[in-house]
Amino acid sequence: MEQVFAGVSVQVNDEGYLTDFSQWTREVGEDMAQKEGITMTDKHWEVINYLQEQERNEVPLTIRKIGKSGVVNIKEFYALFPNGPLKVSSKIAGIPKPVSCI
């Protein structure tokens, strides 16, 4: 389905995750964050950049990985993206939600 962020129409799945990363822009991410109640700061963007880089390298994302990334520790990650930080930050980064096998 289509949804509009920052005045741009993008394709998202049922849960609101982008299905085509090429449609992601910083403005789209910023607007998505706002709708999640998050005001983006430099630290938020540092995390988003890290997530996107891991996704490009096909590295599955976990809370531990982020805690050891040197970008943020896990407590800070929760403070930046409250209520399921990995789920929320993945959405803002325009990458798929971390999943189990079924």
């Binding site: 096909e58 976990t62 809370i63 531990r64 939600k97 999943v99 096998c101 079924i102």
Partner: protein, 418 residues
């Protein structure tokens, strides 16, 4: 004489030793397997042991029994892999030179990684079922447990056999129903991902199971610590879940030797090409099964499919040919749902589990992503196949290493990529 060295005699290492002894000329290649353990365990059986469905004697046999003639087995711990010298050091000081190395050291639980998980309560009120001892101790506990809050918990992903914890919850429901004490047991499933099922088709087909079995779900729970004094687990966001009996899957990590040798990721898994199974450590080092960091399930079926492709790629490597980019992440798992039923799932890197028939299109006899008694019988029959065919490298008829799309209800536009 050239040397091919395999580290680990679990599912993957044993299969590779059998495949390669058949394909590599005996006059040119000596094959050596190193593993310090005495026993080879049928790991899928650890799920059934706590519920008294299997006996301990059905789950272990001597490692030696499955290493073929003409392969040298050394039962000693590995100290270090020296990739620059193409050499492995053993704990007893012996050094083994190799031309080709296959790392098949698997994964193990690391309860030390979670604050408060180990302590006096470990194996008393906090159990794992991913080890032989853990599953057996849990069986003894369940035999005399009089009920309360049962919490089935996954610490963090990735874990071996990702559906096993959910199967445990389903089997627990059956077990307590049969003991006529289901009303005394409250079952909660706690997971770091966003639900028991996260793939759209599985969620649609299977969500009814949780309601039917009265299993509560706590999703997005990233454990910070076990507070054993107060019988609760606490997540980084401050969420708390109380338990009387905690059945947890601790953090899964690769072997310490990977860390000592300086090339693992943060969980000691070996960086490996997901299509060829050659490691990113060095061209003459390959990895298979749970030891790799590839984005496939850590499961015996995956190791089985990988073994066929890795056998071919080792031959290609020896002949100086380009490696086949063939492994597609194929996994095939029976998922026990309790009450004598199971579902079967078949998927790979790009296709999520879906409905259909397996292995023959339009016929089956096994149905995909639907509960049936036939699938449960399939799961039980698999123990025989494992001991007699799978690890000794015999081909299992009609089951191919790469995923087959025939017989599946696929909608190509819904293919997923990640």
């Amino acid at each position: 004489m050239k040397q091919l060295l395999i580290l680990g005699a679990g599912t993957s290492g044993t299969m590779m030793s059998n495949h390669l002894r058949k394909t590599l000329p005996k006059k040119d290649w000596q094959i050596t397997v190193v593993d310090h353990q005495e026993n080879h365990y049928y790991q899928p059986g650890f799920l059934f042991l706590p519920f008294d469905i299997y006996k301990t004697s059905q789950l272990k046999k001597s490692i030696k029994k499955f290493i073929p003639k003409g392969v040298n087995l050394i039962q000693e711990k590995v100290e270090l892999i020296d990739k620059d010298q193409d050499q492995v050091s053993l704990k007893n000081g012996e050094k083994l030179k190799y031309d080709i190395l296959i790392i098949a050291t698997g994964t193990d639980i690391a309860p030390r990684e979670i604050e408060g998980m180990l302590g006096d309560h470990w194996q008393k009120s906090v159990f794992d079922f991913y080890t032989f001892d853990g599953a057996r101790n849990l069986r003894n506990k369940l035999r005399k447990w009089d009920g309360g809050k049962l919490v089935v918990h996954i610490s963090e992903m990735p874990i071996k056999c990702p559906v096993a914890p959910l199967e445990f919850a389903f089997l627990a429901d059956s077990y307590f129903k049969n003991k006529k004490m289901r009303d005394k047991v409250d079952i909660t499933f706690v997971t770091p991902v966003s639900g028991a099922f996260t793939k759209p088709k599985a969620s649609k087909e299977l969500n009814y199971l949780l309601e039917q079995k009265n299993i509560k779900i706590v999703p997005d729970f990233n454990i910070e610590k076990v507070d054993a004094d107060n019988n609760k687990i606490v997540d980084y966001g401050g969420m708390e879940v109380e338990y009387d009996l905690l059945v947890t899957v601790p953090t899964n990590m690769g072997d310490d030797v990977i860390e000592r040798s300086g090339f693992g990721d943060e969980l000691n898994f070996v960086p490996t090409d997901k299509a060829t199974l050659q490691t990113k450590v060095k061209d003459n080092i390959f990895a298979i099964g749970d030891a790799t960091n590839i984005p496939a399930s850590k499961a015996g079926s995956v190791a089985h499919f990988e073994a066929e492709i890795l056998t071919e790629n080792i031959q290609r490597y020896i002949n100086g040919q380009e490696l086949k980019q063939e492994f597609d992440g194929h996994a095939n798992c029976f998922v026990e749902t309790g009450d004598g039923k199971a579902i079967l799932i078949d998927f790979n890197y790009t296709h999520e589990p879906t409905t259909g028939h397996y292995p023959f299109p339009n016929f089956g006899p096994l149905s995909l992503l639907k509960e049936s008694h036939m699938n449960h019988l399939g799961k039980l029959a698999f123990r025989w196949i494992y001991w007699n065919m799978l690890i000794t490298g015999k081909h299992i008829p009609f089951v191919s290493a790469t995923m087959d799309t025939d017989g599946k209800d696929l909608e190509p536009e819904q293919e997923i990529t990640h």
